[in-house]
């Protein structure tokens, strides 16, 4: 049985299709049972311990492609589809969904939406909010609701897809979603520039109009900034030549990272995820990221620029609670923490000033408070 932020539910149900999903939820709600939705179970550490969970509803059997139109570059899939399976479907048409998440084999689309998963490519493609164009979800009382649609441009009705992104299953369970997908670039190459994000050179790189990296990541353990370029093979080559030349004038070393090196970086991040160590997100803009990232414990980090500015860091298991809490000013969200710390630290920090609106939304969607209660910001 999975455990959610340290709380183990009594039973798990696995709906076979979307109709059954809404029927199960309707019955649970009518019976006054608390419940939570779980996809691949790769982010179960996220959030505060729920007040109670009777039943886990696992979406993993909802794994179908509902509609894929390569020509329109849109795809509609069920929420339980694994990211890797989606990658494979899109790859057949040389397309991709630029959605980054730690564990593609296990993580599901629904989970990626609910947790607002993203990585360094947010620099070019935006976050899942910028990729999702439609959603179907089951409200806590079992009502099926849709928002957005299947076309890439659409302002009809309120933007329910955006509302569901990052809502951690507290407003209902995601049944399916539609995304805008992209053609695979002809070429993708990555370089490590041995400089710090606080350096003037780094700022100059980002201001240089002949460079358009798709991802910008800071890897302190590697000693520098990792830039990814994608596009036409000749265009990528010119951008890499340009970076190398610029760096040379500042005597800064640049090396290209081959697949082995990239796998090593991904492996390092993955092992941190699985280590049971503290993990946190410093949600901050780039200038803040340079200034306020808690220094003592960072082992990997990602800095997109300018839209991302988020650092994923990992602490040693014995990181001082006080030091981490002291950095709270920079809007830290703890994504994983040891069991003994859960009672002492709120994963989300103080709720924002707009919290009364969030509470009103939660109350309107889930008047009985049965859906993933207590796990989200401010005890929602």
């Amino acid at each position: 049985m999975v455990s959610i932020a340290g709380v183990t539910p009594e039973r798990a149900l696995v709906p076979a299709d979307r109709v059954e999903l809404s029927a199960i939820v309707r019955d649970l709600y009518a019976a006054g049972k608390t419940f939570a939705f779980v996809g691949g179970g790769t982010e179960l550490e996220l959030g505060n311990p729920p007040r109670a969970i009777d039943t886990v509803v696992r979406t993993t059997a909802l794994d179908r492609v509902i509609d894929y139109s390569p020509e329109d570059q849109t795809i509609t899939v069920e929420a339980g589809m694994r990211i890797a399976a989606l990658d494979a479907v899109l790859a057949e048409h040389n397309q991709l969904l630029p959605l980054e998440t730690g564990d593609r084999r296990n993580a599901t689309i629904g989970g990626a939406i609910a947790t607002n998963a993203f990585g360094a490519q947010r620099h070019r493609y935006g976050s899942i909010k910028d990729l999702i164009v439609g959603i179907e979800f089951v409200r806590p009382d079992g009502t099926v609701a849709h928002g957005g649609g299947k076309v890439v441009k659409n302002v009809a009705g309120f933007d329910l897809p955006k509302l569901m992104v990052g809502s951690l299953g507290t407003l209902g369970g995601i049944a399916s979603a539609t995304f805008r997908v992209f053609p695979k670039p002809a070429g993708t190459r990555t370089v490590l520039v041995r400089t710090s994000p606080a350096s003037a050179f780094y700022e100059a790189l980002l201001e240089d109009r002949s460079l358009e990296p798709i991802a910008v990541a800071h890897h302190p353990a590697e000693g520098g900034i990792v830039l990814t370029f994608a596009g036409l093979i000749a265009g990528v080559a010119q951008q890499i030549a340009h970076v190398t030349q610029l760096a040379a004038t500042h005597a800064i070393p640049v090396e290209e990272l081959d697949q082995t090196a990239l796998d090593r970086l991904a492996g390092a991040e993955s092992s941190i995820r699985c280590s049971g160590a503290w993990r946190w997100t410093v949600s901050t803009n780039p200038v803040g990221a340079c200034a306020r990232v808690p220094a003592p414990v960072t082992t990997t980090a990602e800095i997109g620029y300018p839209t991302l500015g988020v650092t994923l860091a990992s602490a040693a298991a014995d990181a001082s609670l006080d030091a981490l809490n002291a950095a709270r000013g920079a809007a830290i969200v703890f994504r994983a923490m040891p069991q003994h710390a859960r009672g002492r630290i709120d994963a989300w920090g103080d709720p924002p000033q707009s919290f009364p609106l969030m509470r009103a939304l939660k109350t309107n969607f889930d008047p009985k408070g049965l859906c993933n209660p207590g796990r989200f910001v401010g005890g929602l």
Binding site: S69, E71, D72, T74, N116, S127, K129, D130, T143, A145, G147, G149, K150, V151, V152, K153, N154, V155, A156, G157, F158, D159, L160, K162, L163, G166, S167, L171, F182, P183, K184, R209, S210, E212, G231, L232, A234, G235, Q239, S283, T284, N285, G288, P306, T307, L308, V310, A331, V333, W348, P351, Q353, S354, L357, M358, A360, L361, N364, F365, V377
Partner: protein
């Protein structure tokens, strides 16, 4: 000015915003009777023009105290009647809230008041090599506050996204007069908790009024190339759009005009486009120079393969701007070829452009009306302009029928009734054909969280029997409704 004293509330609003900025005199109110959707006119009770967030909040509190409906208004350029006043209600105009509050280059953000003109943001940034991406055709007059309410798009949102992708935070006033900051606060990339900003953008003034907006600013691309191509018909032009995008090219913009639209644009702007063609594409590719040169050449080759008659590149920046000016002036240009027109904003899957345009043309022929098309082809956002003459009895109603049928064609192809103009008053009666009753009820749960009394912009977006029995937009029952499969809210 004798009516001034007639409204006892006038003085109370005047005490908040100043006497000159509280309007209740009949002739002055006429300016505010409608927005860009000229067919609807309602005279509000009072118009207030506050200058600060606090003044907005005080006006909202006073209106709420008296149960008056509140309609927010930017420049009034909206095409769906989103800022159409409500009888007996107030209009809060943001035309005095035009200050740029802060530009943060290192973090690429800018904080502005809602009355700032969209294009003025880019003008302000131009000397620094930055700009604001969403570019609705009305960008030289429309305001950022209106853009937030409508989730405005524009030609270049194909590559760069809509207002919702660029407005990261806002200060808003709710119907109880409270001032709330939503979205990513300073120092944050994402807000914690629900994405209130994501749902507020595009909520068409139903959730509250925005008094400050924080937008992302972008570095100008190194290179931009504009390509203009003509085709025998919209079939070939549509095929070219599909071929270009399927090839993996992501143009910054790709716009289509049909023969009738070209005729109007040429007559109105003097741009020297050929008149003996069936369709034209106007396309931008931008990015780093090394990529742009290649994608421009590849796009030209694909246009030729799809049957282009002629390909042109502007000789210089001035000609490029003229071409885009022609495109952006297209709606206004219709006046050259027709006394009146009804514009629609439906979206369809891109691959179906040619088929849908044929169906639209057939609807026009059946009704005996001309339909011009000028639209954002890259994302399938059509703008059919149904031309008519109000002086001919029955022609206006016929045009509205055709416009409604066009939306149904869009829905039949799995599309949407609006890509960027909003639902507003104009399309409220069609929203129930795109969404189920449960979908709409869910959206109303969101509204109830922000504005439980429904003081903000009532009679917009959501279909009601009251609205949908009204003129214009004569109500036509949907087949599913006649068969009892679907109802109407």
């Amino acid at each position: 000015m004798s009516t001034l004293a007639a409204d006892p509330l006038h003085d109370r609003f005047a005490a908040i915003v100043g006497a000159r900025n509280a309007i209740s005199e009949a002739t002055e109110l006429r300016t505010y009777e409608c927005d860009g959707l000229l067919g609807f006119r309602i005279r509000p009770r009072i118009v207030v023009l506050p200058a600060t967030t606090e003044e907005v909040a005080a006006c909202v509190r006073l209106a709420a105290e008296h149960g008056l409906p509140i309609v927010p208004r930017g420049a009034g350029t909206g095409l769906s009647g989103g800022s159409l006043p409500v009888e007996g209600g107030i209009v809060i105009g943001t035309s005095r809230m035009t200050r740029i509050l802060d530009v943060d280059f290192p973090n690429r953000r800018m904080r502005v008041q809602p009355g700032v003109i969209n294009l003025d943001i880019s003008k302000h940034l131009a000397p620094h090599g930055y700009y604001y991406a969403p570019d609705p055709s009305s960008q030289s007059v429309c305001t950022i506050g209106g853009n937030v309410a409508e989730n405005s798009g524009g030609a270049h949102c194909l590559k760069y996204g809509f207002t919702v992708n660029h407005a990261v935070a806002a200060r808003i006033v709710l119907s109880d007069g409270s001032i709330v900051d939503i979205g990513a606060s300073e120092g944050e990339a994402d807000a914690r908790g629900y994405d209130l900003m994501g749902v507020f953008v595009g909520s068409e003034g139903l959730l509250g009024i925005v008094t400050e907006v924080v937008v992302r600013i972008l570095r100008k691309p190194q290179a931009t190339r504009t390509i203009f191509g003509t085709f025998p018909s919209t079939d070939e032009a549509g095929a070219a759009v599909s071929a270009i995008i399927s090839s993996g090219i992501l143009p910054a913009a790709i716009e289509m005009c049909d023969a009738l639209a070209i005729e109007a644009i040429v007559a109105a702007t003097g741009v020297d486009w050929p008149l003996d063609v069936g369709a034209a594409l106007l396309m931008d590719v931008d990015g780093v120079t090394s990529e742009v040169e290649h994608t421009a050449e590849a796009s030209i080759a694909l246009m030729r393969e799809c049957g282009a008659i002629e390909i042109r590149a502007p000789r210089d920046d001035a000609e490029r701007l003229l071409m885009w000016k022609g495109r952006k002036a297209a709606f206004a240009a219709m006046g050259r070829i027709s006394p009146n027109y009804h514009v629609q904003d439906g979206v369809i899957p891109r691959k179906d452009i040619a088929a849908v345009l044929r169906e639209i043309a057939q609807l026009g022929r059946d009704a005996g009306l001309r339909i011009a098309n000028v639209f954002h082809a890259g994302d399938g956002n059509l703008h059919p302009l149904v031309l008519y003459d109000q002086r001919v009895p029955g022609e206006e109603a016929k045009a509205e029928h055709v416009a409604g049928d066009i939306l149904r064609v869009c829905l039949k192809y799995g599309g949407s009734v609006t890509g960027e103009h909003g639902v507003g008053r104009d399309k409220a009666c069609y929203l129930g054909e795109q969404f189920s009753d449960d979908d709409l009820a869910t959206m109303k749960l969101v509204r109830a969280a922000f504005d439980p009394r429904e003081l903000f912009n009532p009679d917009k977006v959501f279909p009601t029997p009251h609205l949908c029995g009204d003129r214009p937009g004569p109500y036509v029952p949907h087949p599913t409704e006649l068969s009892g499969e679907a109802g109407r809210g």
